[in-house]
């Protein structure tokens, strides 16, 4: 029985990490990262963790750096959505800032193109 303790070592060490916290990363987006689309009414990011609505942000900028989204970000679980008006042809940059419910903060960008 005593020797069992030694066998438990790797599991125990894994066990003690129970309060470790993760960060919310981009899982996928709609429109897809780097994709080309013909039309869209909103941009949605799907994160790997649940988000805090009060501190998470999603913005869409055109090639000149002007914010083109409607600033009506909605957060539901791990998903963040912002509406956009009818967008002209060009490349658009999405900037996201995610604060997970475990309080950790991440941010990132990606682009998509409208034909």
């Amino acid at each position: 029985m005593k020797s069992i303790r030694f066998l438990l070592i790797p599991f125990l060490s894994l066990a003690v990490c129970s309060l470790a916290q993760a960060h919310a990363f981009l899982d996928h987006a709609d429109p897809r990262v780097g994709s080309t689309v013909t039309a869209l009414s909103q941009v949605t990011v799907f994160m790997t963790e649940e988000l805090e609505g009060a501190f998470s942000k999603l913005q869409v900028f055109d090639a000149k750096g002007t914010e083109v989204d409607k600033k009506d970000v909605k957060v539901s679980g791990a998903t963040m959505t912002v509406s956009v008006p009818k967008l002209g042809a060009g490349t658009y940059k999405v900037i996201w800032k995610a604060v997970a419910t475990d309080t950790h903060k991440t941010n990132g960008t990606f682009t998509f193109t409208v034909q």
Binding site: M1, F6, F11, L14, V16, L19, A20, E49
Partner: protein
């Protein structure tokens, strides 16, 4: 700077929350069955010391909780810790985020624990602590306070196996109070016996050591299950264990835990059966348990650091 303070606050908070459970648990479950009415005096004095230790842990838990909230608010809102104090964002963190609401609920539980501890410490003598309901209530409330820490961790943000992760976290936190954090009151107990110039331990005190050994073995076995679940949900692969910062921190922790278990096995197999043969065995046991206690605190520190590091899975 924010990350360093958060590591410190988390470490102190998790450690003191576990001690708030470990101390009454030791007094009521590990120590108490060895208490007959005829040998109440020395134990009563030690129990009073445990209650003072409870107050110290309570104060540390409250202060570190405030610092944790303060710096998390600064981190979430991208402001300096000094600026956040004047900002509406502090209110937003408190009332509009899951973390803030959790902290408000935990503050209410903390106030309740303070009231219970007041009634516990009003009793001048504790010849048989097990008969006083307020002592058990203190254990129950502090256990709830510790269990709620699971909502401050990864389990609450995860989108996979949410309930499983939360349950494993809660059980794991509570079990950790038996072992390894329970080593701290055990070390204190042995140190106290030495302070009273006891040459050898009495039968009831040896019973206390054996009881701790049995409880810790059960705790270790249950930690195996909850730990395996947590490890599976957090790490995801063996490669990540070696190639990520999080994994490397975990490996350092593995080493600390290996040393602790090695010392525990030495105590159980070699020292405990010889404890009545001479004072040197008692002193050796005291040294190894104190060493394990320091390692337990080091493990909590590593957990604090890992909490600010992103796990690979």
């Amino acid at each position: 700077m924010i990350a360093a303070v958060l590591v410190l606050a988390r470490t102190v908070h998790i450690g003191s929350a576990m001690l708030l459970v470990a101390l009454p648990l030791f007094m009521l479950v590990i120590l108490q069955p060895g208490l007959g009415a005829e040998r109440g005096e020395g134990y009563s004095v030690f129990c009073r010391k445990i209650i003072k230790g409870l107050w110290l842990a309570f104060i540390l838990e409250a202060l570190s909780g405030l610092v944790w909230l303060w710096f998390v608010a600064a981190q979430m809102s991208d402001q300096s810790p000094w600026r956040i104090l004047d900002s509406a964002d502090l209110n937003a963190v408190l009332w509009q985020t899951q973390f803030g609401q959790l902290w408000l609920a935990r503050a209410a539980i903390g106030v309740l624990l303070g009231v219970v501890l007041y009634f516990v410490s009003r009793r001048k003598s504790q010849p048989r602590p097990v008969i006083y309901p307020s002592n058990w209530l203190a254990l129950a409330v502090s256990s709830i306070l510790l269990a709620t820490l699971a909502w401050a961790g990864h389990a609450v943000a995860g989108i996979h196996y949410h309930i499983l992760h939360l349950v494993a976290d809660i059980l794991h936190l509570l079990l950790s109070s038996i072992w390894p954090i329970g080593l701290i009151p055990l070390g204190w107990f042995l140190w106290d016996a030495n302070q009273r110039n006891q040459v050898l331990l009495e039968d009831s005190e040896i019973g206390t050591l054996k009881r701790f050994s049995q409880f810790s073995l059960i705790a270790v076995l249950l930690l195996l299950i909850t730990g395996f679940i947590n490890g599976w949900l957090m790490i995801g692969s063996w490669t990540a264990l070696f190639t990520t910062t999080y994994g490397q921190l975990l490996l350092i922790k593995v080493l600390a835990v290996m040393v602790m278990i090695g010392l525990g096995a030495y105590n159980r197999i070699y020292l405990l059966p010889r404890i009545q043969e001479g004072r040197s065995f008692l002193l050796s046991l005291r040294r190894t348990v104190l060493g394990e206690s320091f390692l337990a605190m080091a493990v909590v520190l590593i957990v604090g650091i890992m909490g600010t590091t992103s796990p690979p899975f």
